[in-house]
Symmetry: C2
Subunit: 334 residues, 2 copies
Amino acid sequence: MNPTIKDVAQKANVSIATVSRVLNNLTGYSDKTKQKVNQAIKELGYQPNAIARGLINKRTQTIGVMFPNVSSAFSSDLLHGIDEFAHDSNYSVVVCNTDNDGKRTMKYLQLLREKQVDGIIFSSEVLNKEYYEVLESMKIPVVLVSSKTDFAKVPYVKVDDYQAVYDAIQYLISKGHRKIAMISGTKSDPIAGTPRVQGYRKALEASGITFDSSRLVYGDFSFESGGRAMEAILRKAGEATAVFAASDEMAIGALSAALKHGLNVPEDISIMGYDDLKLAQMVTPPLTTVRQPLYEMGKIASEKLIRMIETGDIATNKIIAHSIVERQTVRTLT
Amino acid sequence: MNPTIKDVAQKANVSIATVSRVLNNLTGYSDKTKQKVNQAIKELGYQPNAIARGLINKRTQTIGVMFPNVSSAFSSDLLHGIDEFAHDSNYSVVVCNTDNDGKRTMKYLQLLREKQVDGIIFSSEVLNKEYYEVLESMKIPVVLVSSKTDFAKVPYVKVDDYQAVYDAIQYLISKGHRKIAMISGTKSDPIAGTPRVQGYRKALEASGITFDSSRLVYGDFSFESGGRAMEAILRKAGEATAVFAASDEMAIGALSAALKHGLNVPEDISIMGYDDLKLAQMVTPPLTTVRQPLYEMGKIASEKLIRMIETGDIATNKIIAHSIVERQTVRTLT
DNA sequence: CAATAAAACGTAAACGTTTACCCTAAAGGT
DNA sequence: ACCTTTAGGGTAAACGTTTACGTTTTATTG
């Protein structure tokens, strides 16, 4: 058995209340007793028991984080940021990998509730009614990252997806492109799907380019789907001079496919991605992309959540600035 | 306040002991009372409090995982596997990002102890004496993944690094290469450094190829260092027909550098990596590499740890089989 | 039907803390 | 010298469970 506060009290010849007081450095003890207690603590190698502590003050100093897929580069960057701030604030983070599966998600939510986490970060997955209801019944703060919800009141941190791709397309146009194809993510995705194709269409429209549905093809954000989409584009819309993909993974899939077809990038076709994962710098040629600062977003989400936990007030939404990072996959048309 | 077991007891007109019994389905109650209790539970939306539970039975159903860098593809694949098994066994996992910093690591260890985790997975970082001592004083199971320690008794799961690169080099030799350069990871790393260059040297030796120190250059496992290393090789050992890198990231860095120098891969130079991260399939040409099944390793580590927690006996070491996955970066020399 | 065994259930202690409340003794004021 | 204040510190309840032990009720046996 590890020593408890009782052992410390005994060894220092004081009551456990006093030990507790010096531990939490409150007032109510002399300097001498403080010395004695600290001495006893050191000698016994005493460590407070956070569980007992948690039971009484109803705070576990733990937050839960839900990801559709922990091992994606996307999630893990976010996680890194979340963990950073959390640990600095003396919170632990427990991760849950939902696999985008409703049943699993509900089970994890259950688990987090039983474990009495102080707050939850919900990432990259839409917060539907079912989730929202249990979250609400848990009566703990929640923040969404890279996600939104129709149920107001739950703060999010994300970039403006619509605007980001609007800007990206405009960038492509400014480089002289007019025949621009898009590889969208999952069609029905209300955060990374719809708004992004909206941005695409509106940007085109704003430059007087008419939308051509044969240039819009859907993937599911994955590398493989990006490759397939590229094949489709090459088949159906071979005149396109540029393709914008709604994720870096898809963009890289598209890049591979293009290269495999003997096309040179960016000479024969320009490709632009979305996210700015580490991957983007690693491929050849390095990918031009729109950057979401994932690590920072994680940090901010974590910060908001912890503030909510500790102050009780409800956080505001935060739109994070995106930016275009120019590398070598888009060419200027002359 | 969320309802407690007491509320349930009251509503069902039984004692809390009885409620607890049906909750943990032990014996000692009739079917009717079981119904009553379950009814009350449902009506109140009662959820057990795992903290209180943890306090009394000294089990938190939580494991801690230490990574040098959570956001690396390497760690996150591991984490995925760990999380999978853990959650299936009703354990939660709390992540710690040590940044390879001793101070941080110690702080996290402290934290995990206070939080009373039931076990710890220690990943990709050597378990030095300092860490070992606190771990030992915590008296909870630990398993190492992709790591080792001099202090016996702590089980590990990893591939045989020496053998893996031995096989890789042999593979290269079987493809007709004799002038093989190597980009090693951190020189002093006792698990992913030294053994791997040993494998390289021995494999060369076994085929009667004399080791040439100008063909061995050191990086730090990162993409950038791979690029720099490749430059060095091109400068110092330009006759090399193949280069083996001790990580996929470095291999891809080397690939980029080679491509940038106008070399064709694999026509002008062959490149082989180590890890088989998702990245390896994404680059062009796709990387030939030696595969460590990270996800499975995570799962197995998790399984071992949980078995140790629940049975109390100490797990055995596990050497995971590696394999060579042939893609398109090595050419057969004729 | 009495005796006994077994089933059903309740009581209370325990887990390791925090904290409200109480007590004592010394210090300060008159 | 007496009263009041305050610093220092102790006692015990509380947090939400589990579980050993005891008690009552029911079923079983002869």
